[in-house]
Symmetry: C2
Subunit: 466 residues, 2 copies
């Protein structure tokens, strides 16, 4: 008894959560219930009133159509509805054609029809594998279905006209109810969903970048606490963006069937949303690699990291700000100001660059104090040509010799090289951060294009203060 009570409670919580996550789900459910009642009352009426009497048992198809067609978003419903109508009409036409042909054949009608069903069924199924047709997959399915059904039913009833008329009417009524409910009563637009999910993605990436750089420079204590948390929770936002390709494409597909309800019936922006999503994913790959730096085995000691903490954090903040700004301008459906984005970001970029260079200067300065300036030049020339030659040509035993490095008389070199190899992960981190900034350019470009195609409002100077 108690266990059932517990389970019931759990289910209740799940039910409430599902509704709270997206209240439109409740609306959609009520719509479906209402549509079903409407369609079935049509069937019930049929018994009483004369004009519906003729339609016969096929009224059921109105109900079936309603249940199958009414999808969550308007675009999906419209797509299915149009596919269903066109598929039905084509199927009916083909039946009429086949009937006409079979009337003048010497072979038995049943055999001829069996062959027809086989040939058209197989052909239509095969055609569904072609990518171009895949968009109209449901239409082709309905086409096969209607064709087979009516052909067979005809054979039984021998009354083509009334059968065809009934089926067409009932499906038209079902489609009418669905389109009315999904387009006119509290519609849910796929395009809106796509728009919102793009904004969410931008904000998620912004958080992800900041969290990542913050973690990298965060003190060890904080890190230990975070290690107790599930490792994935940190880069969850990023993973969501990376896995969004399929959802994006589906939403864009549905959205492309929706009427442009904002009065601007130019080129559809939905494909550009997908392209923008691609740019975001490209950006996201770099952020994922940046996250990877948090978990590498060899870590640059905090003392080295702290040298660049300020600049890196600043740059990450700027990148994050740009993303948030993009998200905000997208939310208000207006263009963003290109100057604001570039100036701050470029200053942050130069700061980091300068810091990275001055690090070399500290090194070289400390040498200069004890040495002439010539040593600096040679040490860097040594890098480029003469000594390099001797290195690649000369000592292959040095390349293969980790043991050699470990010889006691060279221990100081080992320390030096240790420093270098410990600085390497940080170099990767910094470089990836710079790479992320470079990819941000691509994101901004696509966002600009998106604003152009979707006809966002013009940017005005005061907009950012909101």
């Amino acid at each position: 008894g108690k266990m059932i009570w517990e389970m019931g409670k759990e289910w209740g919580v799940t039910l409430c959560k599902t509704g709270k996550e997206d209240p439109r789900r409740v609306i959609h459910s009520i719509k479906v219930g209402f549509a079903m009642t409407l369609a079935s009352s049509l069937c019930l009426l049929q018994k009483e009133k004369p004009p519906f009497r003729g339609i016969g048992q096929n009224t059921m198809w109105a109900l079936i159509t309603v249940v199958i067609l009414l999808e969550f978003t308007a675009g999906a419903t419209l797509r299915k509805g149009l596919n269903r109508i066109v598929g039905t009409v084509l199927g009916i036409l083909l039946v009429l054609l086949v009937e006409h042909l079979s009337a003048h054949r010497p072979i038995p009608r049943a055999v001829f029809m069996g062959w027809t069903v086989f040939v058209f069924g197989a052909a239509a199924t095969y055609v569904r594998f072609i990518p171009t047709i895949k968009k109209y997959d449901y239409g082709v399915l309905v086409f096969i279905l209607t064709f087979g059904m009516i052909l067979v039913a005809n054979y039984q009833v021998n009354n083509t006209t009334s059968m065809v008329r009934d089926r067409f009417y009932t499906i038209a009524i079902g489609c009418g109810i669905c389109l009315f409910l999904s387009l006119l009563i509290l519609p849910t637009w796929s395009g809106d969903d796509l728009h919102k999910s793009t904004i969410t993605k931008l904000e998620g990436l912004a958080k992800s970048v900041e969290a990542c750089v913050g973690d990298y420079f965060g003190d060890a204590q904080r890190k230990e606490i975070q290690d107790e948390l599930p490792k994935d929770s940190i880069d969850q936002n990023c993973i969501k963006v990376l896995d969004s390709k399929n959802t994006d494409e589906t939403m864009a597909l549905y959205a492309s069937w929706e009427p442009r309800y904002q009065g601007n019936c130019y080129k559809s922006p939905w494909q550009q949303y997908v392209k923008f999503g691609d740019a975001l994913r490209r950006f996201g790959y770099t952020i994922m690699a940046l996250h990877g730096c948090l978990h590498t085995e060899i870590q640059t000691p905090p003392s080295v990291r702290d040298l660049f903490k300020e600049q890196c954090t600043h740059l990450a903040e700027e990148v994050s700000k740009v993303l948030v700004q993009l998200a905000n301008s997208m939310r208000n459906r207006r263009h963003f100001s290109p100057e604001i984005i570039s100036s701050h970001l470029h200053i942050a970029l130069q700061d980091l660059n300068t810091a990275l260079r001055s690090q070399t200067q500290i090194l070289s300065d400390s040498m200069n104090r004890k040495d002439s300036r010539v040593s600096l030049t040679t040490s860097f020339e040594a890098n480029s040509s003469p000594l390099r030659e001797s290195k690649t040509a000369g000592p292959p035993e040095q390349v293969h010799g980790i043991q050699e490095v470990l010889r006691p008389q060279r221990s100081k070199h080992v320390i030096a090289s240790l420093e270098f190899s410990e600085a390497l992960p940080f170099a990767a981190f910094a470089s990836l951060l710079l790479e992320a900034v470079a990819r941000l350019d691509h994101v901004i470009e696509e966002a600009k294009e998106l604003g152009r195609i979707a006809r966002f409002k013009e940017y005005k100077a005061g907009d950012d203060n909101v």
Copy 2:
């Protein structure tokens, strides 16, 4: 006339290509055609022979079931078929219950039924949003459909028993035909597809790693040629892996409905395939970041890169070899040998490490010749604490001054820092390569787990010579 001919030719090519890509598509199409003929001949028979006569117009449902159920893979068909049967049975049971209740109510039957349809329709639609139920989405749809249809049809016909029996029989016959054709005649298993796609992914990543490192160290001439090619063609393999999450999950879902046809009916390995795919995607993110290094604006000059060409290329080859080996062992459904994988890879890893360290040695050696050993120590101590303090605290004007760096008297420093900032991208490249190796460990771990769960054959010493 000519244009139509051209279009027809184009269509012909597309049709042939679709079939060649996967010949099983042709088989599937023929199956559907055959199943449809079989189901409709049942309807045709009905007219002639007495045992089928009673079923009435509902024979059509056998045909409908066949068209809707017969999916490309056995798992998908089985899933839909079982969902359809269970959904139908539950729907019928609910109708019987409602009929029983409505018999003793004082309110008009039509009103009661209208309400019932509304309530159950809305509730079932709402339940479909719950993730746990989502797996049985189709079953719930069929449940609503059956419930609404039979309830309404009953109201018209007033013959519950025959209606219910007819519908159940026809759907059972349709399911029977579908399951027979998809499970017993040339079946296409989702599990096999998942297995093969995993192998393809491994091989694609192997190619991708080698191509990427090859490109990075390739001479400039070759690079120009590749720039003319579409930029994406290089990392296409990698992108495919990264976008495969959705396909993987669908295949695993279908596969989980398939009977274990190899006799080992232990824990299902399909979820492990998905997990393995996740590990591969994690690995892929690093490779994508590595690809990003090919297109950065600041590039390390070839002279510096060439210092490490041999080691990096060797390491990439080893990584690629490991991936190919994993793919091969998976193809033969046997375990891989862990020793072979680790030993070569670790040697390559150490080579690169040594090379990276010896690079520092060249630098420091050249200084040592002119200087005492003390300078080396101080220069690295300078790195760590005292000068760092003064740097972070002291000169904020240095941080903000890219102009300062550009002053003529410091031009030598600019060259020096240029060298450093140009070496940075290579450091990132090397570090990412090391990171990729680290993630490869995770891939190998998941592969081992996969081999254990899927009960692959034991590894034998001679297997690799094949």
